[in-house]
């Protein structure tokens, strides 16, 4: 009898009332994610296929088309060097998203590992990790950024590393506090009573339940990273032109705010859209991950 039962578990006829894996079904349930994707997908598509668009390259200067108003030929106008702002924005989106996602991803990974270890094992390990975290928190992130840039030069990776270094302590703290609050949950005890190993408990019970709040923080961190990159480039530590990032386009265009507002405003709007959709996306995923929200 039990053999046939097993078969029923595996057949599609078996009743799984709600989604279990991200996929088509996720889109169905979640309004927020749909809004987010509605914004994000077109931007990403445009970005990915920007070379197919009838636009000049992002680095292509044109001395005869300096600071032109937005027009059909240049939907976002042109900048001080006659480059097409749309084309630059699109390629800036790639860079900025890379920065944002890498920072969020790396920070989250470090946060999960170190925060979990600190919170779960407590005692000496906790104290050791947290005092290092405190040191990093008291350490001006700017100095880190400058140090890094001086040693390895400017570029994408130094920027990502610099921002990540400043973010990681926060993630560790967050994860630790989440773990601390989870550690006393009844289901952890329940797992202990069946002699589950520490490793198993961390992997199966603690970490999955910290993902949702971490995700929200990560999406904020991603949006912030895009901005911090802009500020770093203001200080000459970010991604350097002519390579465009949303940050440095805005920063460069900022000086022409009176003469040519579009140079910084248009990519600024794109950042806002991206951040908004990241926010919705993370919120949506969080809801989708939360079985409690399912009825």
């Amino acid at each position: 009898m039990s053999k046939t039962l097993l078969a029923t578990i595996k057949t599609p006829g078996f009743h799984f009332p709600t989604i279990s894996l991200p996929g088509k079904s996720l889109l169905n349930i979640n309004k927020k994610m749909r809004i987010a994707l509605l914004i994000l997908v077109p931007i990403l598509l445009l970005t990915a296929f920007s070379s197919w668009l009838p636009l000049p390259g992002p680095l292509q200067t044109n001395l005869r088309a300096i600071m032109q108003w937005p027009s059909l030929a240049h939907p976002f106008g042109t900048d001080r060097m006659g480059r097409d702002v749309l084309s630059r924005t699109l390629s800036g989106v790639q860079v900025s998203l890379l920065v944002g996602f890498s920072v969020a991803l790396i920070s989250t990974c470090f946060g999960i590992v170190l925060g979990t270890v600190a919170g779960f094992f407590g005692k000496f390990i906790d104290r050791a990790i947290m005092s290092v975290v405190d040191i990093f928190l008291a350490f001006p992130s700017l100095l880190l950024a400058i140090g890094l840039v001086s040693v390895v030069g400017t570029g994408l990776w130094p920027v990502i590393v610099a921002i990540t270094l400043a973010d990681v302590p926060r993630f560790i703290r967050l994860q630790r506090s989440l773990v601390l609050s989870l550690r006393s949950r009844a289901y952890i005890d329940a797992a202990r009573t069946v002699k589950a190993s520490q490793w198993w408990i961390m992997r199966r019970h603690i970490v999955p339940n910290t993902i949702a709040p971490l995700l929200v923080t990560a999406s904020i961190a991603a949006a912030h990273a895009i901005l911090v990159e802009a500020s770093l480039s203001f200080l000459g530590l970010g991604i350097m032109p002519p390579a465009p990032s949303l940050g440095n386009i805005i920063r460069d265009g900022q000086t022409y705010l009176e003469q040519a507002w579009w140079i910084s405003t248009m990519p600024g709007l794109v950042i806002l859209l991206i951040a908004l959709s990241l926010h919705f996306l993370s919120d949506g995923i969080r809801e989708a991950l939360d079985p409690r929200a399912r009825k």
Partner: protein, 315 residues
């Protein structure tokens, strides 16, 4: 209480030592030194060497480290390498400025953000989503404004067009009105992001509290919703707000470089960046010790405020 403070102080000493050591060696890992920093277009290599010697940069690193530690212990901050000015003097000039800007920013932000956040939470709690969405989205957008951008826009608008605030000038405490006018713009620029963060935190915290039982109790005693919101809900939601204020305070002390640059505010941020840019080891190290001290003091004060707000908090 005193004992608690002492314990925190001990913590401080340990972590400061860590920070100091880290900073000392990080700084020296960075290529270029004070002499190189000073050298502009015109200085030759030979002259540089002479300068380096004069600045005491030729001594072995370990010797420099020990001297430095000893100076710290004996509370001698010394002089900057590049300008020969006493560091304590620079600090005592820059710190009050930064502090007042930070305080003003926090105050302004709290005054605006807390009612906004509370309103948003209240509306969300009542299911009236429009205003909540409006505030939440506005906060998100404000959070995303880079300060170099808002700085310029504010300058153009409030200073040039409306003529309300000066764009430059001495930052002096002699005349409070002038002083306030002078720091008004930087404070406004810094507040934009602070308001966004605080409003968001307030909203989340208040929203959580609003569904607590004791809120219902207060309502059942006949208090109006507004009174319940501001007397009961806010007080209970204060812990996360205080936490974020503490963190903001820390970041306002070292994270305002851009604003200080734009508005020519001679604060700690500029001091630090100048120090780093001119590789003035002495200055940077001292500043960082100062930061660490301040950081821990803010934490301490935050904890004490916790205790004040929520008597359940154990110190």
């Amino acid at each position: 209480m005193l004992a608690y403070s002492l314990k925190r102080l001990l913590q401080l000493v340990v972590s400061t030592f860590g920070v100091v050591t880290l900073v000392f060696f990080t700084l020296r890992l960075i290529p270029g030194d004070a002499a190189a920093a000073l050298a502009g277009d015109t200085i030759t290599g030979e002259a540089l060497e002479r300068l380096r010697e004069q600045m005491g940069l030729n001594k072995p690193i370990l010797a420099q480290y020990l001297t430095y530690l000893w100076d710290l212990v004996t509370l001698r901050f010394g002089e900057t390498i590049t300008t020969g000015l006493p560091i304590s003097g620079l600090l005592s000039q820059a710190f009050p400025i930064t502090l007042s800007i930070a305080l003003a920013t926090i105050t302004l932000s709290l005054i605006i953000a807390v009612p906004l956040g509370a309103m948003a939470a209240f509306m969300a709690h009542k299911g009236r989503k429009t205003l909540d969405n409006l505030i939440t989205t506005a906060a998100m957008l404000a959070d995303l404004m880079p300060s170099f951008w808002t700085g310029l826009v504010f300058l153009l608008f409030f200073s040039l067009m409306l003529g309300l605030f000066p764009a430059s000038g001495m930052v002096s405490f002699d005349d409070p009105v002038t002083f306030l006018k002078r720091i008004a713009l930087p404070v406004m620029v810094l507040s934009v992001t602070q308001i966004a963060t605080m409003a968001r935190i307030t909203r989340t915290a208040v929203l959580e509290v609003l569904s607590e039982d004791y809120i219902r109790t207060a309502r059942s005693l006949g208090w109006s919703e507004v009174r319940v919101l501001f007397r009961h809900a806010l007080k209970n939601a204060a812990l996360p707000i205080v936490t974020i204020v503490g963190l903001s305070f820390g970041s306002l002390l070292n994270g305002t470089v851009i604003v200080e640059f734009i508005f020519t505010i001679p604060g700690l941020g500029s001091l630090l960046v100048n120090g780093i840019n001119s590789r003035d080891y002495q200055l940077v190290q001292t500043l960082i010790v100062f930061y660490a001290l301040f950081f821990v003091s803010v934490n301490l004060v935050t904890d004490l405020i916790y205790k004040q707000i929520d008597p359940r908090v154990q110190l």
